[in-house]
């Protein structure tokens, strides 16, 4: 029913690189629930462009350093 996303991300790696930031901490800083952060990390939810920018900004990175698009 739901087409798998081709947008991958390295949020988990960035969290660990930022003092082992928890999913709850990231969720708090972006203003979403922890379940949403989990879903994004696992590729079960593609965030809006604005949310993606917010996540990248938390890590002080450019958008494409956190989110990658893998074309077929």
């Amino acid at each position: 029913m739901v087409k798998p996303t081709q947008v991958t991300n390295t949020i988990r790696a960035h969290r660990f690189a930022h003092g082992e930031m928890t999913q709850a901490d990231l969720a708090e800083r972006v203003g979403v629930t922890r379940q949403t952060v989990i879903a994004i990390e696992q590729g079960r939810y593609s965030p809006s462009l604005e949310m993606a920018f917010q996540i990248a900004r938390v890590f002080g990175r450019q958008l494409d350093e956190v989110f990658q698009y893998t074309a077929e």
Binding site: A39, Q42, G43, Y45, P47
Partner: protein
């Protein structure tokens, strides 16, 4: 499980239980009286109002015991919208069914019950779609 996901489960359970209670009240009445004279209005109003009240109190109760409380984020809103889109098909089918019954001068019992069934099926389908979206994912890009 987030507050919104728990609320979705509760909404589905309440919709099914409410409709079940309606028929538990109605079936003995149908057995005693002819269908056009069956007093279905009060049980229908009672179960609809009861389901709304139960939904409100369950939402409050879940809010008290959930850490993320009533915070519905963008994903929750997208999933809710997705569920409503899926569920609305049964609202349309229920409306069409009632329209056809009105055309053929069917008893109001049938018209009201087709509409009620449409609402319940819409709610159930919407809940299923939302739970699948919570479990399997929803992709905006």
């Amino acid at each position: 499980m987030s507050y919104e996901e728990k609320n979705t489960w509760a909404f589905g359970v309440i919709a099914v239980v409410g409709y079940g209670i309606y028929w538990c009240i109605l079936l003995p009445l149908i057995a005693q009286t002819p269908i056009p004279e069956t007093p279905y209005v009060l049980p229908m109003i009672g179960t609809i109002v009861g389901a709304i009240v139960a939904g409100i109190f369950t939402g409050i109760g879940l809010g008290i015991f959930s850490r993320d409380r009533t915070k519905a984020d963008q994903r929750d809103k997208e999933i809710t919208r997705f569920g409503e889109q899926i569920g609305s098909s049964f609202i349309v089918l229920g409306g069409l069914g009632a329209l056809v019954l009105a055309w053929v001068d069917a008893d109001t019992f049938w018209i009201a019950n087709v509409l009620y069934l449409g609402f319940v099926l819409s709610a159930v389908l919407s809940v299923i779609a939302r739970l699948v979206a919570y479990g399997r994912g929803l992709h905006a890009w």
